[in-house]
Amino acid sequence: MSHERGIISTKDRHRTTVRYGLPAIQVLLFIGVLVAGVGPLLWLLKSGVSTSQDILSGPMQLWPSGIQLKNIPDAWNRVQIGAYLGNTAIIALGSMVSTLFVCTTGAFVLSVLRPKWGPIVTGAVLATLFLPGVISLVPLYMTILKMPVLGISLQNTFWAVWLPSAAGAFNVLVMKRYFDSIPRELIEAARIDGAGNLRMFTSLILPLSKPIVGVVALLTVIGSWKDYLWPLLVLPDPKLQPISVALPRVAKTTEISLQMSALFLAVLIPVVLFLVFQKQFLKGVGMSGGIKE
């Protein structure tokens, strides 16, 4: 046998219960994940092109009485799903950039440069890891309304979402631990070759840390994609809101058919992106578990 064995051995596979039981579980489970994963999306596709009356009176009818394709462009134009999705992308990418900037430079100091005061900063960052986010929800909101010292308000600017997401202890510590595993000989060799700190950071440490940078970037994007409460609080201006904040507000005022096509569009783009990049995506998410340990 060329491949590694699993829990079930070849001998097991010849037993009758396993021989018929295993494929049976396999089929049942497949139907389960198919219904759970694809079912709601197909239903949304159907409802997105149905009339309000069809959606309300016969939501489980396989074939709607008439197809209303114009719902889709209507939703795009009248509900402005495109603009909200754009905001979502801007928020996610900005959060990613600010997070990566802060945690790579910070980890570089704490792990590679190791100044005398480094352990104090590491300790202070580590301490926040044990405090749940809820403790700073209200004071963080007040900070955004009026930044201490600077005296400016970040409300209704994307900075209000980008910057707080960068202050994540988890990302800094993960990055630091990865930098710690880079052999010191490499760093010493670069020093002897006359590389300054900036050059060492950009040409040695960052290229060596591509995998972890990718995972942190992915997790940040997923996190910001799912966030609802924070953007709801700091982005009251509808023009700046991401799709998650805009959808419930829009849902209250639009008819059901248009609502469903808006939902369909909001779901379609991430699903397509996921299906295209599913390999990298699932690998990154899987790695995040190893980091948490």
């Binding site: 759970a36 949304l44 403790i135 930044m147 991430p270 699932l282």
Partner: protein
């Protein structure tokens, strides 16, 4: 001010060596981290502790009120209900959401060629924006007989149920959606951990006469125990701070059956404008969660050493 020349020379020299050895650039590299943490992490935490002892509504100047916020929050008749609801949510989420991804991961790890298909399909719900998913499920939970779930159950002669309008069903309905949305991602993490399981032990266990189930129970699960505990703790901490689902599904109703602690904090701060009470409750919740993770840490450490 009146430094002797010798002293200042030493001062400049050590400053120069500090500069030459990269001291300044170390400070510059640390600036982004220290500034963002000061503004958005350390600062707000300290401010939150201070705020919980103050009366603050953002309009009139803040004033010290001692423990008044805490006593107000603790005697609020809504608190016991909200605490119970939060515990109920956490317990249900653990019962629904814990075994499903674990079973899925162990099963998929046994499939050699088609495993990826299960992963992609079960991860799909996690890709749907959570708010879109909640709006969609609100519609699925339509209480009329023509609602999506009610008509499916109707084929088997069950129902119709009031779902989100029912005091007893609202919370399980919310947890069901949360599990649907979260199971795929958790399963992927377990699956990654399962690739590190040493397979030669299966051989030994089989020779000792262990069946498939006891091999899973005694060989597979103990080896991924660490990640199982972490995921459990993260899930607990997450569910104790649940907001989006109850807020959007029911707004806390019906009759406060789904009001969670975080919903209460939100109401204090952003509906009543009482920021002192909101932070006092946040501090209390944070303290409970802190104790929980410390206790959890010690318990699991004792287990893993034995």
């Amino acid at each position: 001010m009146f430094q002797t020349s010798a002293q200042s020379r030493i001062g400049t020299r050590s400053l120069t060596t500090w500069y030459r050895s990269g001291g300044l650039s170390a400070v510059l590299f640390a600036v982004p981290l220290v500034l963002t943490f000061l503004y958005f992490s350390w600062g707000p935490i300290v401010r939150g502790l201070v705020l919980s002892f103050q009366k603050n509504n953002l309009v009139t100047p803040a004033e010290w009120v001692g423990m008044a916020n805490f006593s107000y929050v603790l005697t609020d008749p809504q608190l016991p209900q909200a605490a119970l609801n939060t515990l109920y949510f956490a317990a249900l989420a653990l019962v629904f959401g814990f075994p499903v991804p674990l079973f899925l991961a162990v099963f998929v790890s046994e499939l050699r060629t088609t495993g990826w298909l299960y992963n992609v399909l079960s991860y799909l719900p996690a890709v749907v924006p959570p708010v879109a998913a909640i709006l969609l499920w609100t519609f699925f939970y339509d209480p009329s007989a023509a609602g999506v779930f009610n008509s499916i159950l109707g084929w088997f002669g069950i129902g119709p149920f009031a779902w989100l309008n029912s005091q007893s069903l609202a919370m399980p309905a919310i947890v069901l959606e949360a599990t649907w949305a979260g199971a795929g991602a958790t399963s992927i993490i377990y699956l990654a951990a399962l690739t590190g399981v040493r397979t030669e032990l299966y051989e030994a266990a089989e020779l000792d006469g262990a069946g498939i189930w006891s091999r899973i129970w005694h060989v597979t699960l103990p080896q991924i125990r660490g990640i199982i505990f972490i995921m459990m703790l993260l899930q607990l901490i997450g569910t104790f701070q649940v907001f989006t689902e109850p807020f959007l599904f029911t707004g806390g109703g019906p009759n406060n059956a789904t009001t969670t602690i975080l919903l209460l904090i939100y109401r204090y701060a952003f509906v009543n404008g009482d920021f002192g009470a909101a932070t006092a409750l946040s501090v209390l919740l944070a303290a409970v969660l802190c104790l929980l993770s410390i206790a959890y840490h010690f318990v699991t450490r004792r287990w893993s050493t034995t």
